[in-house]
């Protein structure tokens, strides 16, 4: 009973975090702040939702698969975000809110 309540709260909160993160992706002013907003959906949203599903699954193979999905997101999402930011910076995408940078000093 208590596990049910906790898992429902976690699933709904995870969905809310996903919506907030992607809403930030639409509303934020430049690329790097959009990337910051998108990371919310990858960490809090995915983590809470998988935790809620894990409580529903109990001790079984399903729980192992859910943990594998969580570990996959946990390791690949920062990697992809890092590579994306580095590629965007190498291609000269400037942060909108930062002071202007001298390109010769990069």
């Amino acid at each position: 009973m208590l596990a049910d309540v906790v898992s429902w709260i976690a699933i709904v909160a995870g969905g809310a975090f996903c919506v907030v993160g992607t809403l930030g992706m639409v509303r934020m002013p430049d690329f790097y702040t959009r990337m910051h907003a998108a990371s919310i959906a990858d960490t809090a949203g995915a983590g809470l939702m998988l935790f809620g599903l894990l409580l529903q699954a109990g001790f079984s193979l399903i729980a192992v698969k859910l943990v594998m999905i969580g570990l996959l997101i946990f390791f690949t999402s920062p990697t992809a975000t890092h590579a994306l930011a580095k590629a965007a910076r190498a291609r000269g995408v400037q942060p909108l809110l930062a002071p202007e940078e001298d390109p010769s000093k990069r």
Binding site: W8, I11, V12, G14, G15, A16, C18, V19, G21, T22, L23, M25, V26, F31, R34, M35, A38, A41, D42, G45, A46, M49, L50, G52, L53, Q56, A57, I62, K65, L66, M68, I69, L72, I73, T76, S77, T79, A80, T81, A83, L84, K86, A87, A88, A90, R91, V93
Partner: protein, 97 residues
């Protein structure tokens, strides 16, 4: 309750898709594609629970693996111009910029 989570994930998918359509640079679109991939993984997991068919979790795992490989491959393409060769020569220490 799984239905509420699935609905929230659908809204998140729609918003990420809006950014993929609006995005001024290619990196915005790539970030949106990455987010769509993550949310689609969660969506597959939730649908598996919603319909009582946990086999969908295997689909979510495979989707996640393909998603990260696709993102890194496209990024490498846009950074170096091709996928096979290093775009810039390595220095003496073997590092690439």
């Amino acid at each position: 309750m799984f239905a509420a989570g699935a609905l929230a994930l659908l809204v998140a998918l729609a918003l990420a898709l809006a950014r993929a359509i609006l995005g001024p640079t290619v990196f915005d679109r790539l970030q949106a594609a990455n987010t769509v991939g993550t949310v689609a993984m969660l969506m597959l997991a939730v649908i598996g629970f919603l319909t009582g068919r946990p086999e969908f979790l295997d689909l979510a795992l495979v989707y996640g693996l393909l998603n990260v490989v696709g993102t890194i491959a496209v990024l490498k393409f846009f950074r170096y111009g091709d996928l096979g060769e290093p775009g810039e020569p390595a220095d003496e220490a073997g590092r690439r910029p």
